[in-house]
Symmetry: C2
Subunit: 160 residues, 2 copies
DNA sequence: TGCGGGGTTGATATGTTATATCAGTACATC
DNA sequence: GATGTACTGATATAACATATCAACCCCGCA
């Protein structure tokens, strides 16, 4: 069944498979352990294809029959976010599978406040006005959170 | 005693007074109630001049002799952030007094990961790469969180 | 085969941040 | 004095996150 990615419809089944395969390849290449738990959490994020709280993921792990406790979810999410297979959305205290697995990137997010869908895009925080301000202040930017909230095209007609 | 603002030393006593006065003026102009609790919380933020958690603020309110409960801090912080007298730092789950009170603005923050100091600057999230990506996706940006993490000039020499 | 080390998992407990709810109070207006 | 609105007090609970330590497993090595 198609779902929304970047607010567009796409072939979701293949995008799950590709996301998992990309992570698998990247882990093999970097000598990382893509364990069943980590794989399962990434699969959950890819399947739902939206920002999910750690405890929501935990509930799904429990439906799998695992008596999972919070650290189980947070450990897997730490791994996935550290290695760029998933991202944390600070604004939502939630996590989402990466849309550009493998590529080194500085993600930015577009969060629809009507339907809570999230699209990942690319930002260049060190460029533009922020970068100039940081330079002027003598501040070295190492990473940046960029999360825009607004209205997605699907909600624009219906919700104004 | 001078403290750091935007990583620079300044006359802190007058900046507290000016911050409170600016809030007072703005509230009068807009018909908002700048109650003692709200004033006290803003004063705490201005005095410490750094990002503070709600419970840290709560502890200080209790030192004042008030048997304050969490909603007390959150209500005051809601008021202050809604009307632009303070900002929430998502990355830190913390709050900081606004450095540009009164002016309508889209703030961005430079957060030092060594000393946790925070400088407020201005961003133009709807411009630049993010804005173009949003346009291309048909997404309307209404507000944006921009929080850069890195090394401030004071920590650059000492902490690398 | 036995040993030791690194990384992962299991399990318990706790810490931290945030909100829901409802009763009470203050003040302005009619 | 009745009414409405906004703010405050108080209790409880929800939601998010981490500390800690023991157990396990795989691997390399003697």
């Amino acid at each position: 069944m198609p779902a929304s990615l970047g607010f567009h419809t796409h072939d979701h089944r293949s995008c799950i498979a590709e996301g998992l395969a990309a992570a698998e390849r990247a882990c093999r290449a970097q000598g990382l352990q893509f364990t069943p738990q980590r794989r399962r959490v990434l699969e959950i994020l890819l399947q739902r294809h939206r920002a999910m709280g750690a405890y929501e993921i935990l509930d799904i792990l429990r439906e799998d029959g695992i008596a999972a406790q919070p650290p189980v979810a947070y450990r897997a999410l730490d791994f996935l976010t550290t290695h760029g297979f998933a991202h944390r959305i600070e604004r939502l205290n939630a996590f989402i599978a990466c849309s550009h697995p493998g590529a080194a990137h500085s993600p930015a997010f577009l969060i629809c406040r009507h339907c809570d869908s999230v699209a990942e895009t690319l930002a260049d925080p060190a460029r533009g006005r922020l970068g100039r301000a940081a330079d002027a202040a003598g501040f070295t930017i190492e990473c940046a959170v960029v999360e825009a909230e607004g209205t997605c095209p699907n909600c624009r007609g219906s919700a104004g």
